[in-house]
Amino acid sequence: MHPVLLHTILRLDKSAPVALVLDASESAAEHWPAIAQLGAELLDNLPPDSIHGVFFLGNSTNYPPTKLKTAQAEWFTENKARASLITPVFDVLVAVPDLRVVIIGNGRIYDLPDWDGEPILERCVFVDFGQPLTPDLPSAHRLSAPSAQAVLQLIRDPVSQVELGAPSAIPVWWDNLDYRPVETATGVILRAENARQLTVRVTWLTAEAAPPTAKLTLASGKTTSALPEMCAAPPEPEWIELSAEETTLLKSALARQQFKCLLCGATHDWDTVRCLETGSILGQLVYPCLDRIRATGFVVLRLANGPARARLHRASALQLSRDSVALKLGHKICIWRFDVNTGRWIRQSDSFDQYTPLSNDTYAIVV
């Protein structure tokens, strides 16, 4: 089967939400400064968009996390000597999917056994300062006077690496530049490490009907997988119209003829894309319209009737034909071709010719 285009999206945006439940009851009163301090440290180290809220035992009110440091004394007074009951809080939190809960306090929580066996309890960490919160539930996750890091390790296990690919698939476009193409023994994958954002749309040229699976490595070293969803094709970038002089330049290049540079006036070889005579250390693109928009990577040029047009291709790979792809790996551009016998992508050559034809009237350059 010949490869076809497949448009996918892998959603790995948000960290699991976390709620803090603080204990201002009698048994916790002498430990309040430590409770508030640990709560504040946890909030400082959690992604802001993951913090679901701050609660107190016995109280269903969701307090604004950003105010814990400044308002802790006032909140303690409001909740001082509340009964150590978790149900008012869990009744609010039970509907939040995938929520982690950190309960920081001291002394028994009376109604915890009422939640025994409920999924929310599995996602709770109970932090005490000497007197367990969970004497009636020995199986609960309990920490005694821990550091914030120790608590964070229990509740967060973020994704540190994503690898996305399959032997029969090669990426030809993606929208998250934290993902880079990597050559492996079986072909090309996309890899992101410690990226800020992990969600990515990818267009694959693939012989499989199903999207390539993502392998996720978590900070703890555990691995898991995720399956991207199919999605609509990305919108095509706008074409930029070249000037008459740039169109003439393009025609010369396509005819493999030297041309007079629009920047320095000198004659350059047909495959020159960057003029080094302008005084700029990196040179300037011989097509001034592309230089103005700081084009990098692949550029597709179309020469039909009228002025020529150009379009940027903001990815490190470009589909050249129905079974070949140009891929920038490091500083090299390699050509990969699909082998129908093995069903895999094979690296065919390590050189890319400027003005490689893509179709009758479109050509690719790399700048």
Binding site: S25, E26, S27, G58, N59, S60, N79, A81, R82, A83, S84, L85, T87, P88, G107, Y110, D111, P113, D114, D116, G117, D136
Partner: protein, 213 residues
């Protein structure tokens, strides 16, 4: 039989010809804890006093042998008055006459768990449903037993201006030879908590007031 639910989701019933509705069961610790959370007027040390006398049992875990631990016991009458006010201004302790009138009817009614199903189905909250369902498996013979007016707690009632107790707990919980139709139990002290004293509340039915069920 007419059915209502208090704001904690626990059922109250009124029998034909009765001008008041009464909690089907004595007030549970679940209801008391809701009161504690809502009002923030009682602390852990207060609740610990009660639990020292009659330890808490989760509605998920109780069995016939431990059923008394579901219920709120050891409260003083003035604390019950605060609870009743929170539940609704119309709620109060029953009088001796009201309690005995209810007991007389229920002690003659044979209990069939199938009769309870419509009440369970109508419960708006999961925890009362769970408690009623589990209690229905305890092999009660009469409605007085199921409602724990017999074999449950001694319940606070009013006798004029005084507070006394009525009930006949099972001997494994509190040894006794009390007949609630004959004996009122008068605590030796109103300042010492009593582990086998619980309560249920009643409220008067207004004329033409519709029942929920």
């Amino acid at each position: 039989m007419r059915l209502w639910f208090d704001k904690t989701g626990f059922p109250l019933l009124a029998l034909p010809g009765f001008g008041f509705r009464a909690h089907l069961l004595p007030v549970t610790k679940l209801q008391l804890e809701r009161f504690l959370a809502d009002t923030n007027e009682f602390s852990d040390s207060w609740y610990d006093e009660l639990l020292l006398l009659n330890e808490r049992m989760s509605h998920r875990r109780f069995a016939d042998q431990t059923r008394e631990q579901l219920f709120a016991t050891g409260l003083f009458p003035h604390e019950i008055t605060q609870f009743a006010a929170w539940l609704g201004l119309e709620f109060r302790l029953p009088t001796v006459e009201e309690w005995r009138a209810l007991y007389t009817v229920l002690d003659r009614l044979e209990f069939n768990p199938a009769q309870l199903q419509p009440i369970i189905d109508a419960c708006p909250r999961a925890k009362p449903k769970a408690i009623l369902t589990q209690l229905a498996t305890c092999g009660f013979r009469t409605w007085a037993e199921f409602t724990l007016m017999r074999g449950g707690l001694v319940e606070w009632v009013t006798n004029g201006q005084k507070f006394v107790g009525l009930g006949c707990p099972r001997t494994s919980f509190q040894p006794n030879l009390w007949d609630p139709m004959l004996d009122t139990i008068i605590p030796l002290s109103l300042t010492e908590r009593i582990h086998f004293f619980g309560f249920r509340l009643v409220s008067d039915i207004q004329p033409d007031e519709p029942a929920e069920q």
